[in-house]
């Protein structure tokens, strides 16, 4: 039952808050159990194993398409990692418990978001995940967190205003907010200025939510300032679902990848890829570098989406499959990096890369897994990130966008450059004075690291199986 994925977290929040003290200690097991349940549920629905999936129930109609399943799986994995991080880093029990509840709510919001097929419902669930995120970022009430949360809140409110305006315009036009009705109605008069304005407003909102340059101002601040668990969840999946997933879904199934939309996505994607990587290159805060890297990687996804309507059908399929695959991969490796950043921050007491060095000797698991994640991000074969980038770049090339393809390859080098610099400054090199007493992080941080690294490796190695059974069907449009 898909609606369970929304209802169980809601019930969990209500139950855990009954006035019984022992219930609070069940928060972590409950969250892990739920994440595992959701992962299994999503895997069961993946294209390879889904032959006769239920497609209709009371609240969610037509939900179970491959894109949704992939996102559900990613949400489960990231939620799994972030509750562990929360367990390891929460400053006291009360804070930790509040954050558990908020993570549950955010997960419920995201699950609803990826399953709804209605513009306004999408807005609601998007807002649930976002509100939970604002609170998670500000939860420590330190100056940085508050600043990041406020910027995120204002920009996000702006984005939702744009989306709502668009919804209102579409409502006036076709009297409904359901994807199907809107898509059909748009098909009839798609090139009218009024409808284009509506589409543009919605796209603008989604671009803010995805953190595409130049709509991204809030993103580095929010990611860098958030507490460890919050940044893991938000960077790993919240912006990916509220922004990128919604963008993919709407462009493919509602607005249609028209020439102008494709051009826009390519241009903004290219700007994000390059400028994000350039900005990441000069950072000294580990999480801020990861945040800019996130912008850059989302740029790739958007570029892949930008060939969705190409005349070359194969390129279009490849581009969309690559975008979705990269979305999944990015969720995994960015989460892994944020988990490791949390481990470093917890163990060494700082995220400033100028004060770190040689930690790989002291924290072998963290060092190794982050190296793996960075190689995956930069697209080193045979890790997962390589294949998805390859698909995107191949699609760009086949669709005739040679310049964009070359840009993608070039930015890959920049990615490798800043990540190698991170790796050298944090994990390799001489052990810094002051880092002598650093130890490997506890199980709560190493377990998710290892699990995520195993997924990265497994997806990369199992690609030949995935490509036929999972990736190409995912396009599903």
């Amino acid at each position: 039952m898909p609606s369970l994925l929304v209802i169980i977290p809601l019930l969990a929040v209500l139950l855990l808050n009954l006035p019984l003290n022992f219930l609070r200690r069940l928060a972590l097991p409950a969250a892990v159990l739920f994440a595992v349940y959701q992962a299994l549920f999503a895997m069961q629905l993946l294209p390879a194993s889904c032959t006769a999936c239920p497609t209709h129930e009371r609240w969610f109609v037509n939900v179970l398409d491959p894109l949704t399943s992939v996102l559900l799986l990613a949400i489960a994995v990231v939620a799994f990692a972030s509750v562990f991080v929360l367990h390891a880093t929460a400053s006291d029990e009360k804070h930790g418990f509040n954050a558990f509840n908020l993570i549950f709510l955010a997960v419920a919001g995201m699950n609803g978001l990826v399953m709804v097929r209605d513009l306004f419902s999408m807005y609601i669930f998007l807002e649930i995940a976002s509100v939970a995120s604002f609170i998670l970022i500000a939860a420590q009430r330190d100056m940085g967190g508050l600043e990041g949360a406020f910027k995120y809140l204002v920009m996000s409110a702006l984005a939702t205003m744009m989306m709502l305006a668009s919804i209102a315009l579409l409502l006036a036009y076709c009297g409904s907010t359901s994807f199907m009705v809107v898509a059909e109605a748009l098909h009839a008069h798609g090139s009218h200025g009024y409808l284009l304005t509506a589409v543009g407003l919605f796209l603008g909102g989604l671009l803010i939510k995805s953190g595409i340059m130049p709509f991204h101002g809030w993103l580095p601040d929010a990611y860098a300032a958030a507490p460890a668990a919050a940044s893991t969840l938000i960077a790993g999946i919240v912006t990916k679902t509220t922004g990128v997933y919604a963008l993919i879904r709407l462009v493919l199934h509602v607005f249609g990848p028209s020439v102008a939309v494709q051009q826009l996505l390519l241009i903004f994607g290219a700007i994000s890829v390059v400028a994000g990587a350039l900005a990441a290159l000069g950072q000294s805060d580990m999480k801020r570098m990861l945040a800019y890297s996130s912008i850059s990687q989302v740029g790739y996804i958007v570029m892949g989406l930008g060939v969705a309507g190409a005349a070359n059908k194969f390129a279009a399929e490849l581009g969309v499959a690559g975008a979705i695959f990269h979305l999944f991969n990015h969720a995994i490796f960015k989460t892994l990096l944020f988990v490791n950043a949390a481990a470093v921050e917890k163990q060494a007491g700082t995220r400033d890369m100028n004060q770190l060095g040689g930690l790989a000797q002291k924290m072998p698991i963290t060092g190794l897994t982050s190296l793996l994640a960075m190689f995956a991000t930069a697209g080193v074969p045979p890790l997962a990130g390589f294949w998805s980038k390859l698909l995107i770049i191949a699609a760009l090339w086949l669709a005739g966008y040679h310049g964009y393809a070359l840009l993608g390859i070039g930015a890959s080098l920049l990615t490798l450059a800043y990540f190698l610099s991170l790796q050298r400054r944090v994990f390799f090199g001489l052990l810094r004075a002051g880092c002598e007493n650093v130890r490997e992080a506890g199980w709560a941080l190493t377990v998710p690291s290892l699990v995520l690294a195993a997924i990265l490796l497994g997806v990369g190695v199992a690609l030949p199986w995935l490509i036929g059974s999972f990736l190409l069907p995912v396009k599903g449009f």
Partner: protein
């Protein structure tokens, strides 16, 4: 029976390893080498007597099969190579005894024998290439163990032969592509299409360069000075001629049916004629026993290429006959040079003179072989040259004239060499010279004897060796037989050719006397040609290496290196300074733009929104 061919390749290789193992033991090593040479000769003899057959081991799917083919031609080459190998091993026993690296010398000698046998027997082009390249390695090694500093010559040889071998590889690839097989005996290509012609040209480059023709020849004179002398008698004089001309014959007779009228034939003849003339002109002015011989080793290849290039039966038979003859007399000549070097301590013609009385046997051997190379009847060189003249005349007077001119200059240079080395005034320093030891005389005498035998009884080698070798080629055996009956038995048929040759020889003698009279010494006998107006400038240029492809290549490479160094520095600057600097600058700009102000970020988003909407409305 089939195993015999494996023995021919493996036995020398195994014994060479034994020689390598015992290289510190001096005489044991030498004995091992002698044993190896004897065993090899026995195997070669057995092969020669065995009926023609082939072995085929499929190996890879893409054309590399282990295919060996024994037929009269390959058996003949293996036998000849084995004979020279034994003679030269024997000769080396005293010659190399006191030298460094003698163990390595024997090791590489035997390894060369193995490779040469393999190359002769191989019926697969890729397999052939393997053995061919193996010979290149031993060539390098054998030159490099000569006197100190010989590695420069070795490197030169490696580069020049290596370049030609790359051409050959390309040719092999092309030929295999167009023929659809790598088996030589199954390849039949025609020279009317561009692709096969290209393959032919590349293969020709490989074969003729191995034989030592222009323009890949210039390592030979340098190696003559630097390498141990038996090497010269073995490789450039014997093995490389045998294999190079053998492969050339297989290209022109088996793989491609070269026809007399084709431009490829004319090209080959031109290459032959130019090689004859240029090399012999250079030989004429040499003042060193070994260098002079080395240039002749190049020049005589021209005759063979000319003969085979004629594509008429007389020329081809003559070319192959000249190949075996040349291998004999040139080895013999190098060996006499070796005895002179060993006994007199020098090969500089200025320091030699009048040693004929002190080394009579050596002189006799020299006389016989020199007469052979000059084409004096009734020595073997005369008969093979007559056949080549016959073929050349059939194709055009100009080639005949060039060959005759070459003959004249050859005779002149050997008159000069014999005069200055063996006659004239005996210097004080050379008074104590003694005859060489028997182990060195025996091979020389044997070779000289064969020179006479192949001359007087020329029908024997022609009918027993050359004509069977051509059987099975595109020339029908009967056709060759017929030509042999009418043309080749005993005395050459055409009296005109004989008269021409005799006139030329007489002129050479006359020229020699004029030269001696003018300069007053035997060594200056060619000076009037050397310093003739117009010629001496050319000679100066040649001596400076202006025509040496290796020197030109080196200069080009240096210039190119300078250019690439500059380019590399520039790229280095671009990548190290400019790119990093630009990236850092852009990175700084991007970071400076993120000034943390919320209103700026809102501005960006709103501007982006306006952009999106305007773009969407405008583009649609």
């Amino acid at each position: 029976m089939t195993k015999l061919m494996y023995f021919a390749i493996l036995l020398p290789a195994v014994i060479s390893l034994l020689a390598l193992g015992t290289r510190k033991l001096g005489k044991v090593c030498a004995a091992t080498a002698l044993l190896g040479a004897v065993v090899n000769l026995v195997v070669a003899l057995k092969l020669f007597l065995a009926p023609a057959h082939a072995v085929h081991i499929p190996w890879t799917s893409w054309g590399l099969d282990f295919t060996l083919r024994l037929y009269p031609f390959s058996a003949f080459i293996v036998l000849a190579a084995a004979g020279f190998a034994l003679a030269i091993t024997l000769y080396s026993l005293p010659f190399m005894a006191k030298r460094e690296h003698s163990g390595l010398f024997y090791f590489q000698l035997l390894l060369s024998v193995a490779f040469a046998n393999g190359a002769a027997l191989a019926d697969n082009l890729i397999l052939l290439l393997f053995f061919w390249e193996g010979l290149l390695i031993t060539l390098y090694g054998l030159i490099a163990i000569g006197r100190p500093g010989a590695w420069k010559s070795a490197m030169k040889a490696l580069v020049l032969v290596g370049v030609s071998d790359v051409c050959m590889m390309f040719g092999i690839a092309l030929a295999g592509h167009y023929a659809g097989t790598m088996t030589i005996s199954k390849m039949h290509l025609v020279l009317t299409q561009t692709g096969p012609t290209l393959a032919f040209l590349f293969l020709i480059v490989g074969a003729t360069a191995k034989a030592g023709a222009l323009p890949f020849h210039s390592w030979i004179p340098d190696a003559a000075v630097d390498a141990p002398l038996p090497f010269m008698a073995l490789m450039p004089a014997a093995f490389e001629k045998l294999l190079g001309i053998y492969f050339l014959a297989r290209i022109t007779l088996d793989i491609f049916a070269l026809t007399p009228g084709s431009w490829c034939s004319t090209l080959l003849m031109t290459l032959g004629a130019i090689t004859i003339l240029v090399a012999v002109m250079m030989a004429l002015i040499q003042k060193d026993y070994k260098r002079l011989l080395a240039y002749h080793a190049i020049s005589q290849v021209g005759y063979m290429i000319l003969g085979i290039g004629t594509a008429v039966p007389a020329g081809i038979v003559g070319g192959l006959f000249h190949m075996i003859n040349h291998a004999m007399y040139k080895s013999g000549l190098f060996l006499t040079g070796g005895s002179v070097e060993r006994q007199a301590g020098t090969t500089d013609l200025n320091k030699l003179g009048g040693i004929a009385r002190l080394m009579p046997v050596t002189f006799i051997c020299f006389f016989v072989t020199a007469c052979s190379i000059s084409g004096v009847p009734p020595f073997n060189g005369f008969f093979s040259k007559e056949l080549i003249y016959d073929g050349a005349l059939e194709r055009g007077g100009i080639f005949y004239a060039a060959a005759l001119l070459g003959s004249f200059l050859t005779a002149a240079s050997f008159l000069k060499l014999g005069h200055s080395a063996y006659f004239g005034k005996l210097s004080e320093a050379n008074k104590g010279i003694k005859e060489a030891p028997w182990a060195m005389l025996l091979p020389m005498l044997t070779i000289a004897g064969f020179c006479i035998f192949f001359g007087v009884f020329n029908a024997v080698p022609l009918h027993k060796l050359i004509i069977p070798a051509l059987t099975g080629s595109s020339f029908g055996a009967a056709h060759v037989e017929e030509i042999a009956k009418t043309h080749l038995v005993g005395w050459p048929v055409s009296t005109l050719l004989v008269v021409g040759t005799l006139v030329v020889l007489a002129l050479a003698l006359l020229n020699h006397f004029i030269g001696v009279k003018r300069s007053g010494s035997g060594i200056g006998a060619a000076d009037h040609i050397h310093y003739a107006p117009g010629l001496h400038q050319a000679y100066d240029a040649a001596e400076k290496g202006w025509f040496d492809p290796y020197e030109i290549g080196l200069k080009l490479a240096r210039a190119l290196a300078a250019v690439t160094w500059g380019v590399d520095r520039f790229i280095n600057w671009v990548s190290d300074s400019l790119a990093v600097g630009l990236t850092a600058m852009f990175s700084y700009i991007v970071r400076a733009l993120h000034n943390g102000s919320l209103s700026v970020y809102i501005w960006w988003a709103l501007a982006g929104l306006v952009l999106v909407i305007v773009f969407l409305v405008k583009v649609n």
